[in-house]
Amino acid sequence: MNEEFSSVGKRITQVDVAAKATGEARYTPDLKLPGMLIGKVLHSPYPHANIKKIDTSKALALPGVEAVITFDDTPKKAYARSYRDSPMNSSGHLQHSDEYILNEKVRYVGDHIAAVAAVDEKTADLALDLIEVEYEILPYYIDPQEAMQPGTVPIHDWAPNNIPIVMDSAPPYLAQGDVEKGFAESDVVVEETFFASKQVGAHLETQACLANVDANGRITCYSPSQLPHLFRRELAKMFRTTVGMINVVTPFVGGSFGIRLSCQNEPICIALALKTRKPVKLVYTMEEDFTELDTRTPDYFTIKMGFKKDGTLHAYHIDTLTWSGGYLGRAQLAGGITLAWGLGHYRCPNTNGKVTIVYTNTTPTGAMRGFGNPEVSWAAEQVIDMGAEKLGMDPVEVRLKNIKKPGEMSNIGLSIESTWEDECLIQGAEAIGWKEKFGKPKQEGKVRRGVGCACMHHCSGAHPLLLEHSGAIIKFNEDGSASLMVNPGSPGTHIWGALAQIAAEELGIYPEDFNIVAGTTDGSLFDLGSHASRSTYVTGGAVRQAARQAKSRLLARAAKTLEVSPDELDIKDRQIFVKSSPERKVSVADICFNGIFNFEGDCETVMGAASFESRWNSPPTAAFFAEVEVDMETYEVKVINFVNAQDCGTAINPMSVEGQCEGGIQQGVGYALTEDYSINRDTGKAETDNFTTYKMPGTLDMPKSTEVIIINKPDPKGPFGAKGVGEPAMVGVAPAIANAVYDAVGVRITDLPITPEKIFAALKMKSR
């Protein structure tokens, strides 16, 4: 704990949670405007088809229906649901725009082809049934291996063999040395293939939008978007208007986890509002969420590592086949991350890799928590264990030998600002009882226990891959209370509290002095949004900058009152005092009051406003330790204990960091054991379209005991030493469990999730 801080590091409660505890919090589906219509979307029942004809006349004739729209009624402006056709990095790298508000060709079951607006939900549903569509059914491809065969029907004309992108690793950070030579020089070489699954975000608030168009044609879009400013820009391009004609409002958000980085049903809702000139609310059902929204990117990996006798990693190759879905979504970025985060985690002189991205007739893939990193870690963290076994070394020791130190090149190619991955491994191993428990002799009996570990290295924002720009305004009231005006809405990450703690620390006042004004593009400076574990690090950086400006104004005014120079002053406990004689002081409230009720021609609302671009990217690191029991009659895996040791720099609010880590364990346990997205090969439809068929962990499926260790050592660049933590929390959970299963029963499950059937089959194969 950093005792020198007065606000940072405290376990404060969040200002936005009381509304959630009382039911007062309004999420997008809860909103209502006078005269509001209900929107509904017609989704494709076929995985791949051309639409030859749509007849909407019967639907339009139904009383209560106010609009029915198709491809022909919407702007013909293709967009990328990832917004990656924005100038997101300095090289201006663009991603292909490959879909429309409503499509004239369908590319997965669930693709959006028409929409209605009606007076109520029942009428809207009836109207959908009355839309007549004539399809020309095309051959479809569920797996990338099928889709990429020569002679297949293109899902998009511009991508021959359904391969839009092949990425070869390039120096300096994605490829180094000579990999072939490196393997030849290695004493131990291990290679394995893996499958990382199509995990679903499964946020409880289904996708929703409320769109309103005012008399001047100005659009207000209420949506749970995670990137409101970029989203606004995309909408402006789509609807051929100016950015100023759109306000994106993010009310309370019922979970995001990266899925809400993409443009989902909002353009359809806006198109309906523009057509009817009435407010339209469009809320998806959970089945629509499962069959229409982005998921985590599924990948097939082949990973090869070569080690020297002493356990030093000497050569490392990753080959990835990525399953994009019907649209690119974020598969291109995920591909780059699997290479950079995979190859860049450990020190290794000889690395290279390749990613092949393939269009398939499945739901598109998005940016679910950590995207790219949990996938590649699932594979690579098992290959490290395989190498350790062949070397006859402890897997923790092998990791400690190969993890990077500060000053070495990070996964993103920058110099590592800070890393305590070694501490994470050492303290985590101690907490799980690694020395006593790992590698016990072969066990007998019904229940076999094992322990496993994994570690990871992530990012705090995405500089220099992407723009990392945030802004903040701090505006004091006449009594010394203040508004903190930022963009991020209330997605449940406790970001408002963390930002208030950062501002309070800088200004010498208290977090509760701030009223958080957030969640609109109209009322905030440009902020990239909430992704890549960036909000504390980058938006926090902007807040600290704004606070410094406000502080300099407070000190300048106080200097006149106290008749000293501003640099002789500081602020603590809401008092501005002379550092050399602290009894000479004036309150922040008095200075603010005098600025506003000022009759001497010196009026001023004390404020600070800052735009901030993070030019750094301090990698958070973590270690994960699982202890499992495998039932040898049912082959069921139970996670008994889980330890997550996180190096997130300074924990601005340890309670919130624990919350992120505990939640990451839930998503990781689900990814590892039960969340099994399944597509019917005969229909192309997702068979897992609810929480009965898609099993995410409940209270009884979680580890009996969970321990979060926060290393809590400051980073030199983050605000008050903070780094990101949101995504890192889940990255290594699944491979730690897989390694523990191997320790328990001696079989390695390489395809997610680790089901009883797979363990049974692997044991049977082994006994042959």
Binding site: A18, G23, G255, T285, C661
Partner: protein
């Protein structure tokens, strides 16, 4: 279908309203009574986000017809605080960091209330069992269980 008059007792107050008989309880609470604290998530009784109390017992309001709720006493999350005083469970959820996105929170709190009303001295295992039908995607449940245990202590004071 013709509308039907029903009287529902929600949070201690009688509402005399006209509804379509196929309306679920959650639809009536949200759309007719503007009590949007009760959430619709899965819509088919798998996630527990729509939980309300019916005669003190947890009830999945997305799988219950509103007409079935006549003559019963319904408590929603809006009815838990008394005269502006938060219920100890609400306070405990806030203080323990048990709320992240908050979408599961109303259901979690009401299911926990039914548990504590029946069993004022639960073990953590009892709490986990009681909440097994309430899904959360954010918290990993750790702080939720902690919050319920602490509220149980508070209520006994």
């Amino acid at each position: 279908m013709a509308e039907q008059r029903v009287i529902l007792n929600v949070n201690g107050r009688n509402y005399d309203i006209s509804i379509e008989p196929e309306m679920t309880l959650v639809e009536v609470l949200r759309d007719k009574l503007d009590l949007t604290g009760t959430k619709i998530s899965c819509g088919e009784g798998e996630c527990g986000a729509c939980t309300v109390l019916m005669d003190g017992k947890p009830c999945l309001s997305c799988c219950t017809l509103a007409i079935q709720a006549q003559g019963k006493s319904i408590v929603t999350i809006e009815g838990l605080a008394e005269k502006g005083q938060l219920h100890p469970l609400q306070k405990s959820f806030i203080d323990h960091g048990a709320i992240q996105c908050g979408y599961c929170t109303p259901g979690m709190i009401l299911t926990s209330k039914a548990l504590l009303d029946e069993n004022p001295n639960p073990t953590p295992e009892d709490v986990k069992t009681a909440l097994a039908g309430n899904l959360c995607r954010c918290t990993g449940y750790v702080k939720i269980v902690d919050a319920v245990m602490a509220a149980a202590d508070e209520i006994k004071k």
